[in-house]
């Protein structure tokens, strides 16, 4: 089962878990599983169209991917906010 690594504030919304195992054939399905397991994360990663938000990054085994990327059982996903400048 793929492993999803979370940082604040998603970690806090997922009960303080930094690492969770969730099933899903692609990134969107894995995030939907996260939302089902931890409802407070709903809408934080995917927008209303089911797309990864513009300023959220999802890395699959170290490579930045979008919502349609296939996920394997031994894969690791990192979900984190983009690095941005400004105030």
């Amino acid at each position: 089962m793929p492993v999803v690594m979370l940082r604040a504030p998603l970690k806090d919304l997922a009960g303080g878990n930094r690492e969770v195992k969730l099933d899903g054939a692609d990134v969107r399905a894995v995030v939907r599983a996260l939302e089902a397991e931890y409802p407070k994360t709903a809408g934080w990663v995917l927008d209303d169209r089911g797309r990864v938000r513009q300023h959220v990054n999802v890395f699959l085994n170290g490579e930045r991917v979008r919502e349609d990327a296939a996920v394997g059982a031994d894969d690791t996903l990192h979900i984190l906010a983009s690095i941005t400048g400004g105030s």
């Binding site: 504030p9 407070k40 709903a42 809408g43 934080w44 990663v45 927008d47 209303d48 169209r49 089911g50 797309r51 938000r53 300023h55 959220v56 906010a81 983009s82 941005t84 105030s87």
Partner: protein, 354 residues
Amino acid sequence: MRELLVGSKKGLFVLRGEGPDGFDVAARAFEGSVVEFATRDPRSGRYFASVTSGFFGPRLMWTDDPTGDWETAKGPAFPEGADTTLDRIWVVTPGEADGVLYAGVAPAALFVSTDAGESWSLNEALWQHRIDGDWQPGFGGLALHSICPWPGDPDKLAIGVSAAGVWITEDRGATWRTGYTGLVPRYMPEESWEDTNVLCVHNMHRAPLAPERLFMQFHGSVYRSDDTGSTWNDIAAGLPSGFGFPMTIDPADPDSAFVIPLASDGDRVTPDGRVRVYGTRDAGASWTPLGDGLPAHDAWLTVLRQALGRDGEGEDLGLWFGATSGEVFGSADAGQTWRTVAPRLAPVTSVRVA
């Protein structure tokens, strides 16, 4: 004790105090996010905050204690088939029916809750008008920012959209019609004035004691309608500028409206470096500057659309507004005298009295 809900670019500030003097920050919430709007439903006592994270998007939060924990509402959110996503929640307004609230969002859509704000659904009929009419955004986005219920009649509602005009329903949102006769969109070529649907409403309020009357801050003028929003009369004569965003009314006086003019479309600051609220008590025939205690020189402030709130009525009308400079000003005597009630908050997006 008064409680002011001040939305800002850096979270929600809950101010508590007895009068224009002596307000303290009782709580701060949603640090790191923009709070676009916050209000309290006086029927249930429940508080709502529209919170937008630059990373993780917009969401509506609610609580029964603004100094405690907040819950995430189920929506507003577009169904996946709508092929759009929520950008911002502009306003939350209690309806007339029990448990009903309305939310206006960008891109322009109306959401309805029938369970005191815990879950929300899209008004499909208005959304279809948005699709069929190819509504165009204003500078601040395609925003449904003004919602005017009809006191005592839950079937009737008027809404204002930037830049898609006024929409009116008399069957609880099942069908909608527009009202625009008299509005002059001077930002369009004159040949387009008659036919355009690009009507940039900035703010709109209903007079509760004469609900067929509405006041509107438009993009470049101020208007009054005496026929539920079907036709509009220009009432900006006497103001230093017809441009601005904030507006409110005195609920006890159907001839009253209050605005904070900005210099112009291209120079969105208080005119002449002087901060003044303008009020009318004769339905727009004349306007009185209300500035005793407000900055009178070298003050180039910007006051945003939702950043003027009120409480009370008549001589005891409270007027409270904040600027993007982080100051909040207040009057407890219908604008006759003013005090700075918070001098150094973050840029203010909204002010409402709980």
